[in-house]
Amino acid sequence: MLGHGVSDRRGGVRQAATVRAGRLDERRGFLKCSSAAAAFALFGQAEASARSKARGVLKIGVSGELYYNMLCFKMTGQPLDYVYALPVYESLFRPNALGTVDPWLLADYEADPESLAYIFHVRKGVTFSDGTRLDAAVVKWNIDHYLKVGSKRVALLGAIKSVELIDDYSLKIHLSTWSSIIPTAFSRECGYMFSKAHYERYGDAYCQEHPVGTGPFVLKQWERNVSKLFVKNPTYWGGPVELDAVSYTIYNDAVVGQAALIAGEIDVFAGMELTGLRPLAQRGFVVKTKPIKDHASLLVFNSLNRQGDDPTGNLLVRQAISHAIDRKALVRAAYLGFASVSTQFGVGSHYTNNAIVGYDYNVAKAKALLARAGYPNGFRTQIAAASSIANRTALAIIQANLATIGIDARIQVLTGAAANQAATGWGSGLWYHTSSIYLDVAMQMASIFSKGLTGGVLGLTTMLRPDDVNAALKRSVSSISDQEAVAAVGEANRLLIDKYALYMPIAEYPFAYVTDKAVRDSGIGDVYYSIATLSKAYIQA
């Protein structure tokens, strides 16, 4: 690079010129070197930056398969429905960190309680993965279709009378009665948008395994009960997608799932059993259990008692059982420090009613109530729950507590669709229920405890639905002011617990995600379990 001076005895000028040339060469060479070095540094930095933001496949481990299929209208709002929907579906609204919802596929909306209507303004530029456009007509089609076949159409959207198109990107939702929960309802599976063109072309059966949403990924492969692969949607409306693909692998065994995380076989585990959280956190994994304790467990009774022979149909018996259970001990043992004792459905939210008396742990009181009810020596019953480590522990503790007052409770642990169905009507005795607490507690409670519900609703055939509870819940979802809604929910809870003892609140805890430190910007577990930002997610190299 540096010029070499050429020794010339004959020509000093030449020598001088050569030296000058040499020095010039040196300077040029230095400049060349420097600029090369600078270029190399810049390039290297860019490359390092690119390397640090590696693409590739985000591998998610899950504990089970979808109950039904990938068609959003069929989803019942189980946590796994949302987990599998993350790459494909987006909804009209989405939850935020404050516990409310923001428009997502909508640009904006207006609520008009006086006219019993909402006006939705659809975001422009949104496309489905098949290239078709999301506009008001497609949104209307989706809502109309959900109102015909959707699982929660009565519980969450029962107030919708009709949907009217205003223009290409605006539509009006007419209500039969005011419902403040409509935006929150459309932030969950009710609000997932499916491509109308795809559905009309291929039909319902095909779409069940070939979903087309507006999300950043497209389902490519599905081996039922084994795995799914979603590949990048190259025309995603929200901009370039960092990851190449997202894969899901089912780990039927919790230990193998944990081992898979440790071995690096997966980057995320959705719905990890609580027993695995601390060991994984100690190994440096990110355990996401905040900010929202989005699940609750309740003990529910066969208060409807259609056969007329179930002691739990008696209010005094229900109250006795409520006094017999040591909830502090149960929560400690079953939830390993990741839960808190609950006093009512939705504790921790601003709907909490501190005037609820509840049932303290008091075996003597429990025995006295049982004797008054006509069962001084107890009775035989059963207690059922969906299978999980926490639930099995809880059932064992409840069984032991009930034995102290003479109640012989047989435990029944159910899995899969059997558990799903039992939640709707478990026959007789008690059901230990685990429920997600969706953002709007009023909406959640109205969709569970109101009269006239259909579908996969808790205790549809086993739980009493008194008129005064129903009235309070109706007020909570139709009230215009937040204060009114809070008071109405509080009243409903007071009636459900203190007056009728229809359920006993036990614990509230989070749906746990565990992620590898290298996973960035995925949004998984940051706000609420039903959303993520997989379009921005990447894996740190």
């Binding site: 398969e65 109950y67 039904y68 299929n69 069929k74 019942t76 699982s151 159409r153 009565v154 059966a205 069940q208 395994e209 081996e223 039922r224 009960n225 084994v226 692998t249 089912i250 780990y251 039927n252 065994d253 230990v255 193998v256 081992a259 898979a260 440790i262 071995a263 076989e265 899995t415 899969g416 669709a417 059997a418 169905q421 709707t424 259909t454 579908g455 996969g456 609703v457 549809l460």
Partner: protein, 318 residues
């Protein structure tokens, strides 16, 4: 001989039919309406009625059985899954080869290791070798497959990185990957088989070695090796053939543990999912397939018996 085999096959077919009747009627005794399971509780009565009519669920049970069994016999059509109307025959066609690609090597490893171990423990009867190997075989018998499987996952995979954590690649897709992933699941399943076959081989060989003709052979100056491998073993292995045949259904039926832990999409996993999902057609079909394998294995063992045992061959020929 041919008539002997034909009689055995006829009995096998009759047994399969009996099992099919039992399975069909037992599944219909279970609580739960398949229409409700398929359509969900929000389904209208009209939709439920239409579904039941379409699947013939309103017909008398014996008529339903006839339709079901005749479709299987004539078209190998096991019907559709309740939850998502997938083709059950297709599912079996996809999953049975996966189960067999674990089950058959499991049996092969069990036989290949079990017989020699049985011979060694018989020959070295009473020595420290016998005691050590017997202890090992008892531990194989007593340790649940699930525990062995998890041990492999935690120690051999996670700690030592010797085996993959889970997953399955069919041998016809990538043989190398298949061997890598199937090695530990096959071994997990084979430990028990090794122990059973080894113990049977040992006890039969010890019994045969005490027979008069063996004493005669020894007296005639034949070497111990020739006595064992030329005379004793042949007779000692006849009952072991039965054992091998009986283990096949146990391997296939017990595949649920191995397939669950290692995430292998086989029949075992299919049965488990069918039970938890109350998909009675899947359970029916899976149980029928396993019973066909069971009865088929027994029939094959009986025919093999006739071929290798001259006493049975003689009476079969009569």
């Amino acid at each position: 001989m041919i008539s002997y085999i034909a009689r055995r096959l006829l009995v096998a077919v009759l047994l399969v039919l009996i099992v099919s009747v039992l399975v069909f009627f037992l599944m219909r005794c279970l609580p739960g309406d398949p229409a409700l399971i398929a359509l969900g509780d929000s389904a209208s009565q009209a939709a439920i009625d239409a579904y039941r009519n379409r699947l013939g669920l309103n017909d008398p049970v014996y008529v339903q059985y006839w339709h079901w069994i005749s479709r299987i016999v004539t078209h190998w059509d096991f019907g559709k899954t309740v939850l998502n109307e997938g083709n059950v025959s297709e599912l079996i066609k996809q999953r049975l080869p996966n189960t067999l690609s674990i089950a058959l090597p499991t049996l092969a490893v069990g036989v290949a290791a079990g017989i020699p171990l049985g011979i060694v423990t018989a020959i070295k009867r009473g020595t420290w070798t016998d005691k050590a190997l017997t202890l090992l075989l008892h531990s194989f018998l007593g340790t649940p497959r699930f525990l062995v499987a998890i041990f492999g996952v935690l120690v051999l995979s996670l700690q030592l990185g010797l085996i993959p954590l889970q997953g399955f690649t069919p041998p016809w897709v990538n043989f190398g990957a298949y061997v890598e992933k199937a090695a530990w699941p096959v071994l997990v399943g084979s430990f028990y088989i090794i122990a059973v076959i080894a113990r049977h081989t040992r006890s039969n060989l010890v019994e045969v070695m005490n027979q008069d003709y063996i004493r005669t052979a020894r007296a005639n100056g034949l070497s111990e090796t020739r006595i064992i491998f030329g005379h004793a073993l042949k007779n000692a292995l006849i009952p072991v053939v039965t054992t091998i045949g009986l283990e096949m259904p146990a391997i296939v039926g017990g595949a649920v543990v191995v397939e669950t832990v290692f995430n292998i999409p086989g029949i075992g996993q299919m049965i488990l999912a069918g039970i938890t999902d109350r998909d009675y057609l899947v359970v029916q079909a899976s149980v029928l397939v396993i019973s066909i394998i069971t009865i088929g294995s027994n029939a094959a063992v009986e025919c093999a018996y006739a071929l290798i045992d001259p006493r049975i061959k003689r009476s079969a020929g009569q």
